[in-house]
């Protein structure tokens, strides 16, 4: 009897969530009209849906979405890899961190999206400036989290491994690398949302592909529904990436107590 309770409460929450979605769509469809807000400010849900179908058929919406998604994914993976490597190296070498920390701090404070025009000058209207902005913006949260995790390892654990005659490489693979995983994944979640921002800014600045391009195109044409569609598609890309990370995280960090993992 007791075992059934959580399930029914979960079901109840899901039903509640669904009802809320319906209410939201209804409000979106009719509320702006009731308040006399014109459709070029907030187009109703049905109009955005029509625009979505129209864009699928006429504006190569899927193609632009795939381009943006590909840039997000590549930029994310490269940024994560780079952030992880630099995080581990700096975490293990206080000398390197001391020498590099002013530059890292400066680069961290600089708004990464401001580099987009520079990268467009360097690489033209190609996929590279977009990917590069994503790499830059993804790099920091991952690096900072890995660096902090390596620093936070109890030195006695490393001494324990060394007393078992562990080599430097063994200390890394058996202690430091797994110990950094929980903060690393926390960094990945932040990075996933940032990667989308990086790519969109790159696309806004220059180019004729991607959802960012559709955004500026819709803006120029006064097509508010198109802008809405582009925003929704971008959000979906972000959700897909975030969801994939949560899935992988749950597999890798399965050892953590349930309450420490339950965030999504």
């Amino acid at each position: 009897m007791d075992a059934l309770l959580p399930q029914t409460s979960t079901q109840r929450m899901m039903i509640g969530s669904f009802v809320l979605l319906i209410l939201f769509l209804v409000a979106w469809e009719w509320l702006p009209g009731l308040f006399g807000i014109p459709a070029f400010i907030i187009p109703p849900a049905s109009k955005v849906w029509d625009e979505f179908l129209h864009m699928l058929a006429n504006d190569r919406l899927l193609f632009h979405t795939m381009i943006t998604a590909m840039q997000v994914l590549v930029g994310f993976l490269l940024g994560v890899l780079l952030g992880m490597i630099v995080g581990f190296v700096l975490g293990m070498s206080p000398t390197a961190e001391f020498m590099l920390s002013p530059y890292i701090l400066a680069l961290q404070i600089a708004p990464k999206v401001a580099f987009a025009p520079l990268f467009v000058i360097w690489f033209g209207y190609t996929v590279y400036p977009k990917i590069l902005v994503a790499v830059l913006i993804v790099f920091f949260p991952v690096m900072i989290n890995v660096l902090g995790a390596v620093r936070a390892i109890d030195p006695d654990i490393v001494r324990l491994a060394k007393s078992f005659t562990a080599s430097r490489l063994q200390v890394f693979w058996k202690i430091e690398f797994p110990a950094a995983m929980p903060p690393f994944f926390a960094g990945l979640r932040i990075a996933a949302t940032l990667a989308v921002i990086g790519v969109v800014v790159g696309e806004l600045v220059g180019g004729n592909t991607g959802l960012g391009y559709l955004l500026t195109f819709g803006e120029g044409a006064g097509n508010t529904a198109m802008v809405f569609v582009a925003i929704i598609m971008l959000t979906l890309i972000g959700i897909a990436l975030y969801g994939a990370i949560v899935l992988i995280e749950n597999r890798i960090l399965h050892y953590l107590p349930a309450r420490a993992r339950k965030t999504a």
């Binding site: 109890d154 006695d156 001494r159 491994a161 060394k162 007393s163 005659t165 050892y255 107590p257």
Partner: protein, 261 residues
């Protein structure tokens, strides 16, 4: 005369000064003792007297400033497979199951998986953790975690066990249960151990001899042979009427009553 397992020969340890122009700090000075095969020896002393420093030098993690440390007749210069240590913290890795934690040392030493599993499961059964082999550390109580740490220490089959206040973070009753486990396990396996503690009763309950250290710079000021019997059964030993006089003698040596006055 039994084989000597651990020997400290005129060992001194100095740490560099904390401030500029300061004197280097001498943690321990001119410490010499030997531990024979199968012996359990405790070191007690006031806090900050360098007990843990002795242990770090014994395990080869810290170099000595003067003198030598020998394990099984070999000069200790770096960590080696003859020694294993255990601390107050269990230091279990949260991402490894209990069995995988016990196997850590064996894994580092490159032993094949099947052999590792056999050794670990065997030891976990001895430490009464056979039902928790595939659990994660956070699912265990403090006492159980420390028993798993003991199994991890024993898994590499060290010639000498170095233990630094391994039970001091546990509550009084759990502590007695673990002392019993340790006493029995050490006796059964015929293991040699150097046991650091600040608990006088614990030192007497577990050891063949107790070495008493002075304030810093730590020196060994007295060696007391514990002649009670039942070393494999600390619980029974604690009940012996002979324990009282030993505790009084140690209190005297450590000037505990003066500190309280």
């Amino acid at each position: 005369m039994a084989k000597i397992r651990l020997e400290f020969r005129k060992v001194t340890k100095r740490f560099p000064a904390q401030q500029r122009n300061g004197e280097p700090i001498t943690a321990v000075q001119d410490v010499s003792f030997t531990i024979s095969d199968g012996e359990v020896v405790s070191i007690i002393g006031p806090s900050g007297c360098g007990k843990s420093t002795l242990l770090n030098m014994g395990s080869g993690l810290d170099p000595v400033s003067e003198g030598q440390v020998f394990v099984d007749g070999e000069l200790v210069t770096r960590p080696n497979e003859h020694v294993a240590f255990m601390l107050q913290k269990d230091l279990l890795l949260p991402w490894r199951t209990i069995r995988e934690n016990v196997e850590l040392g064996l894994e580092i030493q490159g032993r094949p998986a099947q052999e590792r599993h056999r050794i670990a499961e065997n030891l976990l059964a001895k430490c009464r953790l056979q039902d928790f082999v595939h659990h994660y550390p956070h699912q265990l109580s403090g006492g159980m975690r420390q028993r798993a740490a003991l199994a991890r220490t024993l898994a590499v089959d060290p010639a000498v066990l170095l233990m630094d206040e391994p039970f001091s973070a546990l509550d009084a009753q759990t502590k007695m249960v673990l002392q019993q486990d340790l006493g029995r396990t050490l006796a059964e396996a015929g293991k040699t151990a150097l046991f650091i503690t600040h608990d006088l009763a614990e030192a007497i309950a577990l050891s063949d001899r107790v070495l008493v250290m002075s304030q810093r710079p730590g020196r060994i000021i007295e060696e007391i042979k514990v002649d009670i019997g039942n070393r494999d059964n600390p619980m029974e030993r604690r009940k012996s009427p002979k324990v009282g006089p030993y505790v009084s003698a140690l209190m005297e040596l450590l000037h505990i009553d003066q500190a309280a006055a």
